[in-house]
């Protein structure tokens, strides 16, 4: 995954920021413990977000303990004291996403370009084996992504919704796993679907120029390349699509029963997503104008 799901730090209380870090470090530690030291490199913000959501829905306590950092023996880090089960699930999702990402990279690139991916896959294969044993259903969900994405991209006239569908459907299934009853399934399903869609659209928007250069598939290139838009017009159009998606995320989120970590998740949904859109779609292109340091959500 891609690291777009982050809370907006300036509007987070210090205590909530520390709590957020404790989950981040907790996931890092869990990855190291379960899959070996190298697996810690795969730690991502998106999976931290997933862990937060899982813990928030299951009312894990918000206590932290201070222990030595697993990466830097001179530093002490905060670790969340509760939520081992959720962290395990999140770490399985992390390594499985990485494994299938590598598999996809190897398939898309020539032998030499894919060499690094091939090398890393040697390790990832072992992680996957372990995760598969404990979470076969998660493996299945993530495996489907690559297959469906290929199908969507190769269809005769791929549209944006169609291309976003596999990622959205994957996220929907992963989030539904956290539901306890039918109503929650409906709400979490909608939340997950649009969160996945948002992540996919953000990634496509972020890679727009890179994909034009390397002639890779990108739904926005197909949709917008022939329209002759300026950078600003293009950003505004994509921003509109993302806002629409966020409105559905917020709608579902408001119906969710978040029991702990609420301040962080509120921030992430209500501010974090919008601010990430700003960063990727607008700030990137406006660096020379002196608007950079302004905190104005």
């Amino acid at each position: 995954m891609f690291g777009y799901l982050q809370p907006y730090k300036p509007y987070l209380l210090v205590k909530d920021y520390e709590l957020y870090k404790s989950v981040y470090c907790g996931l890092c530690k869990k990855l190291g413990k379960k899959y070996g030291k190298l697996a810690r490199m795969t730690l991502s913000y998106d999976c931290t977000c997933y862990a937060l959501l899982a813990m928030g829905l299951n009312n894990r306590c918000e206590n932290v303990t201070k222990k030595l950092c697993t990466c830097n023996p001179l530093k002490k880090c905060l670790y969340c004291a509760d939520g081992s089960k959720e962290l395990e699930l999140a770490s399985a999702i992390t390594v499985l996403t990485v494994y299938y990402k590598l598999e996809d990279d190897i398939k898309d690139n020539s032998f030499f370009k894919g060499l690094a991916a091939r090398f890393l896959k040697l390790f990832a294969r072992r992680w996957r084996k372990k995760a598969l044993k404990e979470y076969p259903e998660v493996d299945k969900i993530i495996k489907e992504l690559n297959v469906n994405q290929d199908l969507a991209e190769k269809s005769s006239a791929p549209n944006i919704d169609q291309c976003a569908e596999p990622t959205a459907a994957m996220m929907k299934k992963l989030v539904i796993m956290l539901a306890n009853n039918e109503t929650e399934k409906a709400v979490l399903g909608e939340f997950g679907y649009f969160l996945g869609k948002w992540v996919y659209l953000m990634d496509a928007a972020d890679d727009y120029h890179k994909d034009i250069k390397s002639n890779s598939f990108n739904p926005f290139v197909i949709e917008l390349a022939h329209k002759n838009l300026t950078q600003k017009e293009r950003s505004c159009y994509i921003n509109g699509l993302l806002n629409e998606t966020v409105s559905r995320i917020v709608g579902a989120y408001n119906l969710m029963d978040i029991k702990s970590f609420k301040a962080i998740l509120d921030n992430l949904v209500n501010l974090g997503l919008g601010q990430m859109q700003k960063k990727i779609l607008f700030d990137k292109y406006e660096k020379d104008k002196n608007k950079k340091g302004v905190i104005n959500p």
Partner: protein
Amino acid sequence: MSDPYSVLGVSPNATDEEISKAYKQLAKKYHPDNYADSPLADVATEKMQEINQAYDQIKKSRREGGGSGSYNSSGYSYHSYGGSAQYHDIRMLIKNGRIADADQILSGIPTSSRDAEWFFLKGTILYRKGWTEQAYNHFQQACNMDPGNSEYRAALNQMNARRNGQYGGYNPTPQYSAGGCSGCDVCTALCCADTCCECMGGDLIRCC
């Protein structure tokens, strides 16, 4: 039923004002406008009823014989409009959440006889499915074919509002004049200058 205070997220010692503020905030959150055409409309309605009940209960226990004070007791209905007979069944299917069936019947209608309502209903189905970009195109098409129809227009306007970031996300158009000097700025600057002068024994604006 669970504790009405915890439903509204306030403490039992909260003042009436705090309670009505919390209630209004929640009512705004669960407002049917936010869930028009969403598959979660039922869940939102349930939540709305829950907070209505909680609010009524608190009011009742605090003031005997007080009014119900319900913020939204009129009830919103989003599917009360007519539409032509041909599409009646499809509207019913959509209303009952049988999206796949509705979609199948719609797809069976030949391209040549697809009118504005067809595009509107197809858009509604796509919207439910989460295919928002396609839904938008279909609503647009419906409005182009029948510009006078308020139902189609409302659906398109709603989507435009969402795109503009009114329901979350980011709005790139700045709400303030960037770096400009408004009338307010001028007044403030003059007041400051006056105060500074007075500190030093002088005066810029004589009346104050």
